[in-house]
């Protein structure tokens, strides 16, 4: 049995007050809070071993490098990669996807090729492909979304469009839908496609095993998984990384540099030009350790129970419309909704007066909102430290908002 009080005590920010009320933080899909262990690991890094990595031969440089590479090993193990060499550190999911678009995309796609995406993509898994398509004359096609919030006939669509690249989100940041990643990847490989998975909303909520998924690229962010902002990961298979041209050029990513040409380092270093976010990487290692300590299966079970409770409570609110799958097993830690007659921004402002933090807007998914037929939505998103009492407070807050705005 997991002791939620103990877990909550690990997150210092959860004890602060907002507008005189205890903070109820339900904006975890935007960014999660950080446990003490992550915060302390980062300050400890700066206080005791700050040095540049992979350069100096002095003691601090060696210790910092060891700590940096130790995080790479932890991350590799956490997502079930075959080797730490498959882990490239980036600034976040967005940069990881852009890296693939600029490096793999430029080298492997040609005019007339198709990239298949879905309508439920976050802008970060849409705009980089639009830019690439414009540069190279590619087609963009989209797997539609059903009214219930699932991908519509995804396997048939993959066979129909025979894309060179399939890029999709594992867990939607609006609908919460958990897409059948393994099946989609298998079918995409059957038609010869390369597959990128946006794992930003999956990696701290579900057990992720990239080797079993067999995806070619998997991108995610540290700050949505209890880690610091400014750090993210691109997983890719070693053979692919070896073939890919560099993305950014500079120090760290080279073997030898001459005036007119250079030889590049082996992956993953080939893709880590410049001094990396060392403290970020070290902090991410601590976040992975925290999540692994509890176990991702346990976290998933906790969150599924919580989401199921939240859905049941919200469904009873009159005039409230929930988007996305109604089976908790198909939903990650996200519930987007609208309350009849209340703009999501107004709802979020009223809830903020009670210390409750939710997101309102289009959540960087404008095309999906168009599909839903709304301009914006409100979104409550959960993490392992949220409680049923907090969901009760959310429901009370929504009822209060209904009173404020009643006509």
């Amino acid at each position: 049995m997991v002791d939620l009080t103990k877990i909550r005590a690990d997150f210092p920010i959860l004890s602060r007050k907002v507008n005189g009320h205890p903070l109820v933080y339900l904006d975890n899909a935007a960014t999660t809070q950080k446990p003490k262990s992550v915060i302390e690991t980062i300050s400890n890094y700066y206080e005791t071993l700050n040095a540049n990595v992979h350069r100096g031969v002095h003691r601090l440089a060696e210790e910092a490098t060891a700590k940096y590479e130790d995080s790479r090993k932890k991350v590799a193990k956490f997502i079930g990669a075959s080797s730490p060499r498959e882990i490239v550190f980036t600034r976040g999911t967005t940069e990881a996807i852009n890296l693939v678009a600029y490096s793999w995309g430029e080298a492997n796609l040609k005019a007339g090729d198709t990239i298949l995406l879905t309508i439920m993509e976050h802008h970060s898994n849409l705009v980089p492909w639009q830019l690439l398509a414009q540069r190279k004359g590619l087609h963009l096609d989209f797997i539609p979304v059903t009214k219930a919030g699932y991908l519509k006939d995804p396997e048939r669509m993959i066979r129909k469009f025979r894309p060179k690249l399939l890029a999709f989100v594992q867990v939607s940041n609006v609908l919460g839908t958990i897409n059948p990643a393994q099946d989609l990847i298998r079918v995409a490989h059957e038609v010869g496609a390369t597959v990128l998975v946006d794992g930003a909303q999956a990696v701290s909520h579900l057990p992720v095993r990239v080797k079993e998924l067999d995806c070619d690229f998997y991108a995610f962010s540290g700050h949505k998984m209890l880690g610091p902002t400014g750090i993210g990961v691109l997983f890719s298979k070693t053979a692919l990384l070896e073939e890919m041209p560099p993305f950014l050029g500079g120090g760290e990513m080279i073997k030898e540099v001459f005036l007119r040409e250079s030889r590049y380092a082996e992956p993953p270093y080939k893709f880590e030009a410049g001094t990396p976010d060392i403290a970020g990487v070290v902090g991410l290692g601590a976040a992975v350790e925290y999540l692994s300590g509890l176990g991702m299966e346990v976290i998933r079970q906790l969150e599924e129970e919580l989401v199921s409770y939240a859905e049941a409570r919200l469904a009873k609110v009159k005039g409230l419309m929930i988007y996305g799958p109604r089976r908790p097993a198909d939903r990650g830690g996200v519930i987007a909704f609208n309350v009849e007659g209340i703009h999501p921004h107004d709802l979020a402002t009223v809830l903020d007066q009670d210390g409750i933090a939710i997101r309102s807007g289009n959540h960087c998914a404008m095309p999906l909102h168009e599909r839903l037929g709304v301009v914006a939505s409100a979104r409550a998103s959960f993490a392992l430290y949220n409680t049923k009492e907090e969901i009760d407070l959310l429901v009370e807050g929504i009822e209060r908002a209904k009173k404020v705005f009643k006509r």
């Binding site: 107004d346 009223v350 007066q353 301009v375 914006a376």
Partner: protein, 127 residues
């Protein structure tokens, strides 16, 4: 207790917006949007006289309480004003109509109608 940005006057303007209508023959129309949430607001004016004054004004919006209330208040104030008068209208004034208790992230919502007004005047001058 937080100062309530949803005080009765604001809510009244949002529930019963003044001048929320389509003008049949406007001098100019401008549509603006709030990239944060995708809200849209369009403002139409009929200008006439010398110097030209706002004879009629109407707005249409798919927007939050703050934007709609600010638009309603703005349309009431600008009727009969000349372009010179309108140029003197400040952001601060709009905040004061709303009661001045906006949180930073809602400032954009409050200023959406002013953005529309500036656009519509630009549009009118091009004609």
């Amino acid at each position: 207790m937080v100062t309530d940005i949803y005080r009765e006057e604001v809510l009244d303007h949002a529930r019963n917006p003044r001048n929320r209508r389509k003008l049949s023959q406007p001098t100019a129309v401008a549509q603006v949007s709030n990239p944060l949430c995708g809200d849209t607001l369009s403002l139409a004016v009929v200008l006439g006289g010398n110097p030209p004054r706002v004879r009629e004004v109407g707005f249409e919006a798919e927007a939050c309480v703050i934007s709609v209330a600010a638009a309603s208040m703005l349309t009431e104030k600008i009727k009969g004003q000349t372009e010179a008068d309108l140029a003197g209208l400040t952001e601060k004034e709009i905040f004061s109509w709303l009661g001045g208790a906006l949180t930073p992230s809602r400032v954009e919502c409050a200023l959406l109608p002013l953005k529309a007004l500036r656009e519509v005047l630009k549009e009118a001058n091009l004609k």
